[in-house]
Symmetry: C2
Subunit: 168 residues, 2 copies
Amino acid sequence: MYYYLTVRQFIRSLKNLDAILEKATRQAEARKFDVNNFCATRLFPDMLPFVAQIRIACDTAKGTAANLAGVEAPRHEDNETTMADLRGRIAKCVAYLETLRAADFERTKPDTLIKHRPDKIIPADEYLFARQIPNFFFHVTTAYALLRMQGVPLGKMDFLNGAQSVAA
Amino acid sequence: MYYYLTVRQFIRSLKNLDAILEKATRQAEARKFDVNNFCATRLFPDMLPFVAQIRIACDTAKGTAANLAGVEAPRHEDNETTMADLRGRIAKCVAYLETLRAADFERTKPDTLIKHRPDKIIPADEYLFARQIPNFFFHVTTAYALLRMQGVPLGKMDFLNGAQSVAA
């Protein structure tokens, strides 16, 4: 079932994101600056900072999975101030996603109505493909961009890593 | 079938991207600078410029659709130098995607092998969810980021626009 499949893809992307944060940490060590200086960076003064990009990516993945499985997601407090804290946030999110099984998504059909805000409902396919997947990658890519533009040596394979092709 | 569905989502996102380029054009007019100055901007000197972000977003959408439908995508030359050219590139891509019908994707199953490089094959689901969807949103988000960080008044709804929820 593709709901399960797409949630598994969030896990892969979040692990890639963690590896990107690891590269940022190594870059800070090599250049001898505090890696936590990245946490407050923004693309523009009225845009959310790096910490929020990570939190929203995690919460989008977690909330999507929980909503499509018809369960309540665990609450994770927004209290991270360091890169290590943010990696902990990603780890908690991945650990939760890994508790879910294909069977948890079997009752959900493409037109099952999902309550995604207290006053909004949306069919499952529209929820996943039109809102949640784009939103998830928006925040992961923005986090990547913030590090990339400040000199962390990243390439697109850091973002895409883990897709499995087979030699022809 | 979700292959058709996800290709339709690429159309929606490309139309949002075109509206974002329109906002950049209006911003340039209001501030009296040449909107084409955005075309060569980069997040970092060794990263691809804005024009390439748009081309790759388009080619990812077009190539994904064609590969999943088992047809050959039309070739679009990489010769854009202006914002108007880039909007033309998006329009050509959308026009092609709109020729495809749900029936074109019916023969493709989750494990159908897709040739995505001359020497690489990958099962359809892995191709779509692990490579092409993340890659598409990576480039759309990077284009958004390049404009956003240079003062174009954008918000996330410019990126997500068109997802249809229903009042509860």
